[in-house]
Amino acid sequence: MSAAFLLTEEPLETLPDFVVPAASGSVVAFWGRVRSSNEGRAVTGLDYSAYPELAVKEGRRIVESAVERFGLDGARAAHRVGSLAVGDAAVVVEVASGHRGEGFEACRWIIDEIKHRVPVWKREHYAEGDWEWVTCHHGSTTTVS
């Protein structure tokens, strides 16, 4: 059983393969990508920053809890930091389990917990040249400049 959480400045597509045990009949993956628009505004990119020491600890706690809670064979999540363009992957969650039911459920649970608990922040850049800090779990943004 493996449980890992990584923060990386490299594209998430370059991560080593997620190792799936032979007993797992299901692999569920979620890729979160930078959207071209948010709340009606054209987005050109996002800057992600993190408090790395605590982000990695909290992220690992989430993935470990998911493995235990949903009886998974293994799970991994990774989050990008740095400047991302539209279409870049910002986060990936991969879950291996005996069957698909617990896999889908666990994948959803992990990404929701990451969004609420892991100390990562994003600044959204718009086509007009301005930017805003995004506070996604409140579903709102606050203008800074």
């Binding site: 992600y48 408090y51 020491e53 605590l54 909290e58 990451i114 100390p119 800090w133």
Partner: protein
């Protein structure tokens, strides 16, 4: 006593620095927040902020020790 305070994201922008040394009489993390929030005129209230000490989340009532490293975090927005 002197403690180190670190800021991230919006707090870092508003403080104009990611780290500072603060001479304080504060006995708790909450009292330290009140001091730095007043000094930097932070726009976010304490109800939106989380604090950490020694790279672990901590309570507002957590006592401060000389040399402590305290981190204040605005609402997170990963994913």
């Amino acid at each position: 006593m002197t403690v180190t305070v670190r800021y991230y994201a919006r707090l870092k922008e508003e403080a104009g620095t990611d780290k500072e040394s603060v001479a304080t009489q504060a006995a708790t993390v909450a009292e330290l927040w009140a001091e730095v929030a007043g000094h930097h005129s932070f726009t976010l209230g304490a109800d939106l902020i989380r604090a950490a000490q020694d790279d672990e989340f901590c309570a507002w009532e957590a006592p401060l020790a000389p040399g402590a490293v305290v981190v204040f975090m605005p609402p997170v927005a990963g994913g």
